[in-house]
Amino acid sequence: MGLKIIDDIRKDYVCNLIRGGQRAEGRGFREYREISVDGDTIKRAEGSARVKIGDTEVLVGVKLDVGEPFSDTPDKGVIITNAELVPLASPEFESGPPNENSVQLARVVDRGIRGSEAIDLEKLCIEEGAKVWIVFLDIHILDDDGNLVDAAALGAIASLLNIRIPNERYGLTGENTLPMRETPVAVTMVEVEGNILVDPNFNEENAATSRLTVISNADGSLSGMQKSGSGGLKEEEIVEMVETGIEKAGEIREKYLSPL
C-alpha cells in the first residue's frame, strides 16, 4: 500500500505509451493477449480448467458434493464460488482470509453464472428440500499479470462445461453431465488517458483509475457488470465499453468455448 516510486514510474511509462497510441507488447487497444484454455487438468476435481491470458494464470476447479438446499429454493442446487489470491501469485497478495479483492472477484464471476442462468439448477435437485448437489467453484490464482476477472470467469465456465456428476460416489443414479444452458464471458476494460483498453495487464490496471467488467451471453444480452476503481466514467464511455465487451465476448466464446 502507499504509492511507491517504482509504481509512479511504471504508470508514467504506460501512460506515455498510450498517449502515443501504443501498448506494451505491441497490442492494439481492443486486442487481448494470447489466451489458452486447458480443460480437465485436475483429476481430483469433477471439472477444471487452467487459463492463461498472457502471463496471467488461473486454475479453476469444480467439486460436487451432496448437501441441503437453501430454504427459499428447496428444489435447486447450490453454487458456491470462492477465489483465493494466494501469495504465490503476486508480491501484493498476502496470506489470510479473503480480502475485498478476492471477495469481489468471486462475486463477479458468480454473478455472471447466476445472471445468465448458465447452470440449470433445478436439475441439480436430488430430493426436494432435503438433498441437492452443491457445486463448489474454486478459483485459484497462480500468476497475476492483470485482468484476473476475465481469466477466472473463462476458467469457471470452461470447467463447468465438462463436469461429470459423481452419482456413483453417493450411490445415486441420474444424468452424469452438468446441465449447462449458457456460456457467459467476462470482458474487462480500463480507461487510461481517455482511451479504452481491453484486457489490461498489471501495469495498465495500476495506471487506470476505472475498470469495467461486462459479462455477456451468446445472444449478446448482459448477465453481469461491475465497475471498480476510484475514478469516474462518462455515459458514452460506458456504452462504448458495453458494446466492445459484447463483441469481444463473442470472439472468445467462439474460439475457446465452442471446442469444449
Partner: protein
C-alpha cells in the same frame, strides 16, 4: 440472486405494487447532523430503507504502514444491523458487505480532495437499520451528505440509485419484493453536476437496449436525489446559522 423468482405479477394496470410509476422514486427523507460523537452524520430513509451514515476524520491512519504519503486514505464500512432483514443477520462482515463497502468507497472517492490530508484517514460508516432493497444506494447517498456535514473538502456530492427490470419493464428504484421476483438489478452512483458515473453494478439479465435505457433513467433520478441532498445540507447550515445568530443576540 435471481433464482428465487417465482411467477408473481409485479405490475398491474401499468402500476407497480406500491402504486408507483415506472420512473418514480420511493419517498426520500434526509436528516443531517443526527449524531453527537461523529464528525458528520446523516440519517436517510428511502421507502422502507432506513440507514445512518457517520464520518470520522481526517484523523491519524492506523496501521502506520498503510498510510499514504501523498493523500488521505478513505475507509468505508457498510454494515447491516442483525434485525434489519427478514432472517436475522449474524453480526460481522460477510462477503456481500465486504463487496458493498468497496463499491461504496470507490463511489465516493472521486469527489474527495484527498491531497489535502496526506498520511491521514477519513472513515465512513454506514449502518443499515431496516432494509428493503437499495440499501447500498441509500448508504452512498447518506455517506455523501455525512462527508459534507463533516466538512471534508469535496468537489461535489455523489448521488446513487438503482434501476431494474420487473415483468419485462425497466423501472426505477426496486423494492425488496420487486428485487426478489424481478429479472435484473443495476445500482449506480453518479456525480450529478458532471454526469460522471462512479459506481455501476449489474446483476440479472438485460438486453443492451434495456441497459442503455436503464442507465439514462438512473442518471435522471440522480439529479433529483442531488437536489434533495443539497436541500438537506442547506437546511442544516441555515439552522446552525440561526442558532449562531440567536446566541449573538
Amino acid at each position: 440472486m435471481k433464482e428465487g423468482k417465482t411467477e408473481r405479477k409485479l405490475i398491474i394496470d401499468g402500476k407497480r405494487m406500491d402504486g408507483r410509476g415506472f420512473e418514480e422514486l420511493r419517498p426520500l427523507k434526509i436528516e443531517v447532523g443526527v449524531l453527537k460523537r461523529a464528525d458528520g452524520s446523516c440519517y436517510l430513509e428511502l421507502g422502507d430503507n432506513k440507514v445512518i451514515a457517520a464520518v470520522y476524520g481526517p484523523r491519524e491512519m492506523h496501521p502506520r504502514h498503510a498510510q499514504d504519503a501523498k493523500m488521505v486514505v478513505i475507509k468505508c464500512r457498510y454494515n447491516m444491523a442483525p434485525f434489519s432483514v427478514d432472517d436475522r443477520k449474524r453480526p460481522g462482515p460477510d462477503r456481500r458487505s465486504v463487496e458493498i463497502s468497496k463499491v461504496s468507497r470507490e463511489a465516493l472517492d472521486p469527489v474527495i480532495m484527498k491531497e489535502y490530508y496526506p498520511k491521514m484517514a477519513i472513515e465512513v460508516y454506514v449502518e443499515v437499520l431496516q432494509s428493503d432493497a437499495g440499501t447500498r444506494t441509500a448508504g452512498i447517498n447518506a455517506a455523501s451528505v455525512a462527508l459534507a456535514d463533516a466538512g471534508i473538502p469535496m468537489t461535489d456530492l455523489v448521488s446513487s440509485i438503482a434501476v431494474g427490470k420487473i415483468d419485462g419493464e425497466v423501472v426505477l428504484d426496486l423494492t425488496g419484493v420487486e428485487d426478489n421476483h424481478g429479472e435484473a438489478d443495476m445500482p449506480m452512483a453518479m456525480i450529478a453536476r458532471t454526469n460522471t458515473i462512479t459506481a455501476l453494478q449489474m446483476d440479472g439479465h438485460l438486453t443492451k437496449e434495456e441497459f442503455k435505457r436503464g442507465l439514462k433513467l438512473a442518471m435522471g433520478a440522480c439529479h433529483q436525489i442531488y437536489e434533495l441532498q443539497r436541500a438537506a445540507l442547506i437546511g442544516r447550515y441555515s439552522k446552525s446559522e440561526e442558532r449562531e445568530e440567536r446566541k449573538r443576540e
